[in-house]
């Protein structure tokens, strides 16, 4: 076999690893091995290219890889689990940026026809993915507002930036990707695409951001696939296409879990009407505040309790305390379950990860469809740091969360909210449930409040 045969064989093995990795990640039992297999495939591919290709600047390249790894490993190890979604967004963005740079550098060598088109495509999609992911990161980090942002003339600006990117791509194409004009056109294409990425993500409301991360993930996959075509590299083509296709499907599945078509998630705010939000029925209406002792008594004499955890629980790191409370109640023959909304936390499945971290038994975690029929026969629902996922406003038309499936908490005998303040949830709208007569509120940090409730319960 020639050297090229060995290289192609190694790439084939890596591609198979990636397919098996995605397959493994689809089931809880095989997920971890699947991920390790993917990492093995990626390492094999990198070693193969380093050994086989005729590379200049090898010490610099190895240095760059070391720098990247030194930056990535400690960050991903130390970041709190609650901040994971924005980290994934950031990693996705830098991947898109890398693809765009690769395509830009390859432009003069792309020749003509399809490879040249693929280069420009990669520059556009990679840049959109990069800037879009950065805005997503800033939203999730709450550096900028999580509410939808619509600029004056937003649809025109967005459409204009896309058209500009397309027109400039044509210019670069007409110049065969070489020369000063083509270089300038390619750089301007990147700039227009970066602007388009920002304008694309700004109008998306906080609660829908995870879906956008998934979509941008698919975008990066496609740009990697296109750059594989340009570089005549089958592995990049296969890996990028796999991520592009699976990411697109995953995005649709997530949008379905939110109960809304993808287009209304992405462009709902642009059509107007849905951004008004919390200005409505004033938030100075009377609510019923409860003390930790009240809550303890209510819980102690209940038969069935359902805990609805939300992002507030995650922020306060209260998952261990909530398990302590659940254990205490179980000792007193109170049936405790957790009602997990598909998008509890900041990403689908995020809450399952956090509760698993606190060793909450898996069989107590109930998915929405399973738990919803049970609320009517439940004595106490403990809503900890969740808001939008139990907001009955989702059942009415004309609100930012209209149509989103919710947990039917309002059917329970008693509802207790553990909240830091009367601040509305991530979607930025008021929750009617807070003002109902059978609702009481325990204000404060979720962990502190729960610790007080546990103490009060022990004293009973």
């Amino acid at each position: 076999m020639t050297k090229q045969n060995w290289v192609d064989l190694a790439y084939l093995v890596a591609a198979v690893c990636f397919i098996l990795a995605l397959k493994g990640l689809s089931s809880p039992r095989t997920a971890r091995n699947g991920n390790l297999l993917g990492a093995f495939g990626a390492a094999l591919a990198v070693v193969t290219v380093l050994v086989s290709a005729d590379l200049h600047h090898l010490p610099l390249i190895l240095g760059a890889i070391l720098v990247g790894a030194a930056a990535a490993v400690p960050t991903s190890r130390r970041v709190p689990m609650t901040a994971m979604p924005q980290l994934v967004a950031l990693f996705n963005g830098v991947g898109g940026g890398a693809a765009a740079i690769v395509a830009y550098l390859e432009l003069p060598h792309a020749g003509s026809g399809f490879p040249l088109v693929a280069s420009m495509f990669t520059i556009v999609i990679g840049s959109i993915s990069f800037s879009g992911s950065v805005v997503t990161f800033l939203k999730l980090q709450e550096v900028i507002t999580t509410r939808p942002v619509v600029l004056p003339g937003h649809p025109l600006l967005f459409g204009g930036s896309l058209l500009a990117a397309a027109a400039l791509s044509v210019v670069a194409y007409a110049q065969h990707g070489t020369g000063t004009v083509a270089t300038a056109a390619a750089l301007l294409t990147a700039a227009a695409s970066l602007a388009a990425g920002v304008l694309f993500v700004l109008p998306v409301g906080g609660a829908d951001v995870p879906i956008v991360i998934s979509l941008l993930n698919a975008f990066t996959g496609l740009s990697v696939a296109a750059s594989g075509y340009v570089l005549d590299n089958v592995l990049l083509l296969v890996a990028g296409t796999l991520v592009g296709a699976s990411g697109t499907l995953l995005t649709r599945l997530m949008a379905q879990a939110m109960g809304r078509p993808l287009t209304s998630t992405l462009f709902g705010a642009l059509r107007g009407g849905s951004t008004a939000g919390s200005a409505g029925p004033g938030s100075d209406r009377p609510v019923r505040a409860a003390s930790p002792d009240d809550v303890a008594i209510l819980l102690n004499y209940a038969h069935r309790v359902i805990v609805v955890p939300g992002y507030g629980l995650a922020v306060a790191q209260a998952q261990h305390t909530v398990r302590e409370l659940a254990d205490l109640l179980a000792e007193r023959d109170v049936e405790v379950q957790y009602g997990i909304h598909p998008v509890a936390g900041r990403m689908p499945g995020h809450m399952n990860v956090l509760l698993a971290e606190a060793n909450v038994p898996y069989d107590q975690l109930k998915e929405m469809d399973e738990v919803n029929p049970q609320f009517a026969t439940t004595d106490v629902v403990l809503v900890i740091g969740a808001n939008d996922v139990v907001n009955p406003a989702a059942r009415q038309p004309g609100t930012p969360i209209s149509g989103m499936p919710i947990l039917d908490v309002d059917q329970a005998q008693n509802v207790i909210f553990l909240k830091r303040s009367m601040r509305p949830g991530f979607a930025g709208i008021d929750n009617e449930l807070l003002y109902q007569p059978n609702t009481s509120l325990l204000f404060g940090d979720a962990k502190e409040s729960l610790t007080k409730v546990v103490a009060a319960l022990k004293a009973l």
């Binding site: 689809s26 089931s27 390249i61 990693f91 890398a98 690769v102």
Partner: protein, 95 residues
């Protein structure tokens, strides 16, 4: 089969494989799956290495090295953070 047609064939078949492998995933695993897929497209590192290795001129080499750093962050960080998420699931099936 000529080069272009071959690549197109691979592309189309990969689309179907990509759809097929994730079609039956539970909501619980959406986040790790997205994160794992995110790590996989970090393989653009191979492209970044190839482009940097054949680049000439300070600007090109610098850009190539930037792409290499970014791609490494994507790949390495992606796999590590996915592993950390999945660590939480261990032993769950035994309960």
């Amino acid at each position: 089969m000529s080069g272009g047609m071959g690549l197109l064939t691979v592309f189309v078949l990969s689309v179907f494989v990509g759809f097929e492998v994730v079609s039956k995933v539970s909501t619980t695993l959406h986040t790790p799956l997205m994160s794992g897929a995110n790590a996989i497209h970090g393989v653009i590192l191979v492209g970044a290495i190839l482009v940097t290795g054949s680049a000439s001129g300070a600007v090109e080499v610098t850009l190539g090295l930037v792409a290499t750093v970014l791609a490494t962050v994507n790949m390495v960080g992606g796999f590590v953070v996915t592993d950390r998420m999945l660590e939480m699931f261990k032993g769950k099936s035994r309960v």
